[in-house]
């Protein structure tokens, strides 16, 4: 079932700049969707439009079946947002800002729940501190605590791990995994592709206000994934034997290694023939290695393809 439905959403800012150019996207209940895209792609704009911070110029968005404009109460009460910027009142105490968030979303007081959330985010010891007394990473966790305080069914995390150390990033991933376990739908934006690879079920790529693709992470990786076969030779080959000239091999490490790139999606990878041809050409193999292309390569490929088309 789809939890968030975005159809044909355009957003032009006051200056006339069109930050979303007809974005459509279905977000399934209970999934983790990672949105990747370069700076200025429109990730924050898309999230802001879903959450009610900006109004769509045209198109419709529903959350849990509630239209975000006409039935904003129904939609927004399901949604939690962790914004990209650290927007917090410096003089307030942690516990009060979190309590405020829960009340604002119409939920009755629940101190036990707030304690659980703050403990989980390692903020319990800091509950009576003022925001300005916290470190940057702690402030980011306060933002998460505020979003979780009203028990959202859909959680938007806009670059939750920007400026966060490695350990904390792992913690964050654990928290996200725990929320998914509890059935929360999670949408996160990130610039770290390994982050998307590590935790997302599906990956969307957005650039210049258009959603270029949304796919299951695994399917995406196999569909677009290319593999490299690295062939290490006993003796370096100064140049390729003529018989191998048109096999698209790349010579690396001064002739010690031959690199063959192939598509894992194809029926025939051509590896067997290649190996036979190599030994027929008189070269002796020492070792073989394969390497899967990372999402990063896919992502960069997609974005530059759009750039070429424009």
């Amino acid at each position: 079932m789809s939890m968030v439905q975005i159809s044909n959403v355009r957003k032009a800012y006051a200056g006339g700049f069109e930050a979303l150019k007809g974005a459509s996207l279905d977000i399934h209940e209970g999934e983790i969707l990672a949105l990747l895209g370069p700076n200025g792609a429109g990730k924050t704009t898309l999230i802001s439009t879903i959450c009610g911070i900006t109004q769509p110029t045209s198109g419709t968005i529903t959350v849990g079946g509630h239209d975000v404009v006409t039935d904003y109460r129904g939609a927004r009460s399901l949604v939690g947002l962790v914004p990209q910027e650290i927007n917090l009142e410096p003089f307030e105490r942690v516990i009060n800002t979190v309590r405020f968030s829960r009340g604002l979303f119409g939920k009755p007081k629940d101190n036990a729940l707030l304690e659980r959330i703050l403990r989980q985010l390692s903020l319990w010891d800091k509950r009576d501190n003022r925001i300005m007394e916290l470190s940057g990473g702690m402030k980011r966790r306060v933002l998460i605590a505020k979003a979780l305080a009203h028990e959202p069914r859909v959680l938007f995390l806009d670059e939750p791990t920007a400026g966060v150390d490695v350990e904390l990033r792992r913690d964050m991933w654990d928290i996200v995994a725990g929320l998914k376990e509890a059935g929360v739908t999670i949408i996160l934006t990130t610039h770290y592709i390994e982050e998307a690879e590590a935790i997302a079920d599906r990956i969307g790529v957005i650039n210049k206000g258009e959603i270029l693709l949304v796919e299951e992470k695994t399917a995406l990786m196999t569909r677009l994934g290319q593999k490299e076969l690295r062939i290490e030779l006993h003796e370096p080959a100064a140049e390729l034997p003529a018989s191998l000239a048109d096999r698209g091999l790349r010579i690396e490490e001064g002739g010690q290694v031959l690199v063959y790139t192939y598509d894992t999606g194809q029926d025939r990878t051509g590896i067997a023939t290649l190996i036979r041809e190599i030994s027929e050409a008189g070269l002796v193999l020492r070792d073989l290695q394969t390497r899967q292309n990372s999402l990063e390569d896919i992502f960069v490929g997609l974005v530059s393809k759009q750039e070429d088309a424009a």
Partner: protein, 253 residues
């Protein structure tokens, strides 16, 4: 109605007030005392009585009005401007609340603070002069309505303001002169006829007059007109705020 949200906003805003309670309490006491020293003692020794009321007592309603109006405006305008300024407004905009709930929370808190200060001034005044309040209920109604309507007005200013200077601009350029010229410290009937006519275009005259009537039974304008003026002003502010939230003017892109 999302009552929890109204309560959350109200409590959060009041907490800001309680953090600086001493300051909130001491400064009106001091300034009121100063007014009594300057106006009551210096001028009062020459004027003596206005329409049968001692000058010191006569200025009390105006004094309260002056503080209550400026406090209500500055509290409410700051209350909504600050989240806009530091970015925490994202949370209000993404919460399941309508304009009325936001307004009730912020304006309610700002009006409460102003009311508190009004009462502190009233209490301080009672130390300096003999005060009788002929119509205590009407007095309270006027006071509360003034707190509310000027807090609404302040809320609009807070949304409109793009920087801290603008936040001060309207109170400084419009409200303070209107209040000073609104008969806070004199009776309109003491003015030359031309100025009397001009004064009746000043909305504050109606408020001060009505409020003073509740103390001494004296009014520059009929009491019904005073009520109408403050009611009309409240409705106008509400209508503007409704429009602001409907169009997202200055808050939602």
């Amino acid at each position: 109605m999302n009552w929890q949200a109204i309560r959350a906003i109200y409590v959060f805003e009041m907490a800001r007030f309680f953090r600086t309670l001493l300051q909130s309490f001491v400064s009106p006491v001091i300034s009121t005392s100063l007014y009594f020293v300057v106006f009551g003692a210096a001028i009062g020794s020459r004027i003596d009585q206005v329409e049968g009321v001692s000058y010191g007592a006569f200025i009390v309603p105006g004094l309260i009005m002056l503080s209550v109006m400026t406090q209500a405006i500055s509290n409410a305008s700051f209350g909504i401007y600050f989240p806009k300024f530091i970015g925490t407004i994202y949370e209000l905009l993404s919460a399941p609340v309508n304009f009325l709930e936001i307004v009730l929370g912020y304006v309610g808190a700002a009006a409460t603070k102003a009311l508190f200060i009004g009462i502190v001034i009233l209490g301080t005044s009672a130390l300096f002069v003999d005060l009788t309040i002929q119509h205590p209920i009407a007095m309270l109604v006027f006071l509360v309505l003034t707190c509310l309507s000027f807090a609404l007005f302040g809320f609009i200013i807070g949304i409109w303001a793009g920087n801290f200077e603008q936040l001060q601009l309207i109170p400084l350029l419009i409200v303070t002169p209107l209040v000073f010229l609104g008969g806070s410290f004199y009776s309109i009937s003491m003015l030359p006829p031309v100025w009397q006519t001009i004064s009746f275009f000043n909305p504050v005259v109606y408020l001060v007059s009505g409020f003073r009537w509740s103390f001494f039974g004296l009014a520059d304008v009929p009491i019904g007109l005073s009520l109408l003026a403050i009611g009309g002003f409240t409705m106008l502010c509400l209508a503007i705020i409704w429009w602001i939230f409907k169009t997202g003017w200055r808050i939602r892109q």
